[in-house]
């Protein structure tokens, strides 16, 4: 008895800790573990989901996966420039088709995003802005004025358009990779002018709007050859060279599908999902207590523990919560009750058939197990297949349902059992009433 009560206390403490963990991000984001939030799907936070198909017909089949990775890197870099929180760029293979999935949270106007993703790489050379101009722009910006000018650099006419070719080279001393650029005639002239006017100063090399190298010009260069010495890994340098040479994305892409949800609809869906969840769980708790009395109350504890456990798992894995995912979680709450009901019906039955209450608890749990196992297997079968073959919406549902079912088995067999045993009621009329059993004569 003491042992079971100690376990009960341990479970209670674990429950309190998990409850704190599950809710910390709402009431105390600055406290321990409070920085971990729930991951919301695009349909709940608003955002765009784009599916591209890559045309790999011109590429050797052995190099397809490599060029898809290259494509992903390029697009990831472009997407990062949007300033979207946690953008997702994934390569996906579906049959013979090579896909790229791009998820942009908080962006509804996909038109601009689509344009930026699909553009050719943009190589720019920029020169230093004079100190007085820089001060002026910075001062205006500090005053809160919107100045759409880079305070540090001025774009020049020289861009990737004037590039003849690009070569990968390794520095003979350091062994670091360098990217060599060779300009055409016009480009050589421009480059000569730029270097001439900026000896001792910085010329910044921008790719897709981000600086990749900021070398200081040593002397005028008229040969039309430039060298980028960035902090490259050999692979990055190789990718860069390939991209600069192809002048476009490593693989041409085509938009196959897009889904976007406005932030207001997302927030509304989230709020309504949470409300539905609260009402649903309250209704189930009320029903359990009214019908099963004391064991019902214990089952409600089990249910609360279960909800906290599942929410914690959602955070830890993490599971991306969608509207369908909330539905799956709620369905699993209903199903979690099933295990408890099976146990209590068995328990009542055993007592009705004349078993002692203490023994009935044991046999009730024991005999209910095959039914609990069987009834959950079919749901687990369904949810795993849905997970393998489903789209992201369906996966959200399958995952929350599956996690929910597994957690429900644990909470019914371990948590509910420990609390029923720890309540330690003797076999008398009073406890029978509490258990809702009318003993037949």
């Amino acid at each position: 008895m003491l042992k079971i009560r100690l376990i009960a206390i341990f479970l209670l403490l674990a429950g309190v800790f998990l409850a704190y963990f599950a809710g910390a991000n709402f009431f105390r984001p600055d406290w321990f573990l409070g920085n971990i939030g729930y991951r919301l799907g695009l349909d709940l936070r608003g955002g765009a989901h784009l599916v591209y198909e890559a045309d790999v017909s011109a590429i050797n089949s052995s190099e397809v996966s490599e060029s898809m990775e290259g494509l992903r890197d390029v697009i990831e870099r472009r997407v990062n420039a949007f300033g979207v929180a946690e953008p997702v760029v994934q390569v996906q293979k579906s049959g013979d088709s090579n896909r790229l999935i791009v998820e942009l949270a908080g962006i509804f106007d996909t038109d601009q995003a689509i344009r930026m993703i699909g553009q050719t790489p943009y190589l720019e050379f920029k020169t230093e802005r004079s100190e007085s101009e820089r001060e002026e722009i910075l001062k205006k910006q500090e005053a809160g004025e919107v100045v759409l000018k880079d305070p540090y650099f001025i774009p020049t006419e020289l861009t990737g358009r004037f590039l003849k070719k690009s070569i990968l080279d390794f520095d003979s001393n350091t062994g670091f990779p360098n990217v060599l650029l060779e300009f055409n005639e016009e480009g050589s002239k421009l480059f000569g002018q730029i270097t001439k006017g900026n000896v001792g100063k910085v010329v910044a090399i921008y790719l897709d709007g981000l600086p990749i190298s900021v070398p200081v010009v040593q002397s005028e260069i008229t040969s039309g050859n430039a060298q980028i010495t960035g902090q490259f890994t050999p692979q990055e340098a190789r990718d860069l060279v390939r991209r600069l040479n192809s002048g476009a994305l490593p693989v041409p892409i085509k938009l196959m599908a897009q889904q976007s949800v406005g932030a207001s609809l997302g927030a509304e869906s989230l709020e309504r999902g949470v409300i539905a969840g609260i009402y649903g769980i309250l209704a189930v708790a009320l029903f359990l207590i009214l019908r099963y009395r004391l064991p019902g109350l214990i089952a409600v504890f089990g249910l609360v523990f279960y909800v906290i456990l599942v929410l914690s798992v959602f955070k830890v894995l993490p599971v991306t919560l969608t509207a369908a995912g909330i539905a799956g979680f709620l369905l699993s709450v209903g199903m979690a009750v099933d295990a408890n009901i099976l146990i209590f019906e068995r328990l009542r039955e055993e007592v009705r058939w004349g078993a002692n209450l203490g023994k009935a608890v044991d046999t009730g749990f024991q005999r209910a197990w095959p039914s609990i196992r069987d009834s959950n297997i079919s749901t687990l079968i369904t949810s795993s297949i849905l997970y393998w073959f489903g789209t992201s919406i369906i996966r959200g549902f399958a995952l929350t349902l599956g996690v929910g079912v597994l957690a429900s088995i644990f909470s019914a067999l371990v948590v509910t059992k420990v609390f029923v045993l720890a309540s330690g009621l003797r076999h008398n009329r009073f406890s029978l009433t509490l258990y809702g059993v009318k003993r037949e004569a």
Binding site: S97, Q258, G273, A327, F389
Partner: protein, 304 residues
């Protein structure tokens, strides 16, 4: 016991419901959602001065859009379905709707999906694959679950009856959806298929719980040496009496969460919750009022 006694009335009732479902599916068919058919769907909400439906239709026609379908939603909103309009025309569509170059000042675009034909085809195929796989695995599970039962009804008969119950549980929500599609524009999408598959899993376990009890009671009776064929009806009746309490309680708990999801939940999962709700009711009904009585009828009939 009462259910076994009045089983013929229940058969008639079930037959009517099934006939209505099949009628709906055959004559109305399903409306495919954009994820299966390919195409675009746009949901907008006007900030104020919501135009009449006919005006919206006229504005879209004037802007050169054709083959669209408009459905009002809420007080200020419309859902517009079109073919695949490509990436450029979304802004055009918003401009045509708002009659303004700055659509954001007049309306809020809440959701825009555009699914190319390839993806639609693929999603349809995936739906078929997952339905087939779930059915195969569930059949395997049913035969595994009944591997010990033999007398006086052959094991495969339990399986057949469980599958009949399963078909019933799928047909009823599917039939309802055909009517909903006809009269309320409800669409069959990936979520609908998911709901049906979830019902498959749920329904089969509900039936198995009753059959499980029959199995247990048969074994008990066998041990007591009274396993005449005439007792079968009684054993099934007793098993039903012992299990329907649990069956109803479980279904009621699931009913509560789904009803809450249907009433209060997000629009995106509304029909999903309804499909599940109907499926759960059908599944509970069939496992109590259809599967076990059928087992009794079959056993009686084959003795004749």
């Amino acid at each position: 016991m009462i259910i076994i006694r009045f089983r013929k009335i229940l058969y008639v009732f079930s037959a009517i419901i099934l006939a209505a479902s099949i009628f709906g599916i055959l004559f109305y068919g399903f409306r495919l959602g954009v994820d299966f058919s390919g195409g675009s769907i746009l949901e907008v909400e006007f900030l104020e001065n919501t135009p009449e439906l006919s005006l919206v239709e006229k504005n879209l026609s004037n802007a050169g859009f054709s083959a669209f379908r408009i459905q009002p939603t809420g007080e200020k909103g419309f859902i517009i379905r079109l073919g695949d309009i490509g990436q450029e025309s979304r802004q055009d569509l918003l401009k045509a709707l708002s009659l303004s170059d700055n659509p954001e000042s007049v309306l809020v675009a809440r959701r825009f999906d555009s699914i190319g034909p390839t993806i639609g085809r693929e999603l349809r195929r995936n739906a078929f694959v997952s339905i087939s796989l779930v059915i195969i695995l569930i059949l395997a599970f049913v035969s595994w679950a009944f591997r010990h039962v033999s007398k006086p009804v052959a094991i495969w008969k339990y399986g057949v009856v469980a599958i009949l119950a399963l078909i019933h549980d799928i047909l009823v929500p599917a039939g309802l959806f055909a009517y909903l599609g006809r009269f309320y524009g409800a669409e069959v999408d990936a979520l609908f298929v998911t709901a049906l598959l979830t019902i498959l899993g749920f329904s089969v376990h509900d039936t198995i719980v009753v059959f499980d009890r029959i199995r247990e009671n048969l074994r008990k009776a066998e041990a007591e040496g009274r396993i005449g064929a005439a007792d079968f009806e009684q054993i099934v009746g007793k098993s039903l009496d012992e299990t329907y309490g649990r069956s109803l309680a479980t279904s009621f708990a699931i009913f509560l969460v789904l009803a809450s999801l249907f009433w209060y939940g997000a629009d995106a999962t509304r029909y999903f919750a309804l499909t599940l709700l109907i499926g759960v009711i059908a599944g509970t009904y069939s496992s109590i009022c259809l599967a076990s009585p059928l087992l009794v009828s079959w056993q009686k009939w084959s003795r004749k």
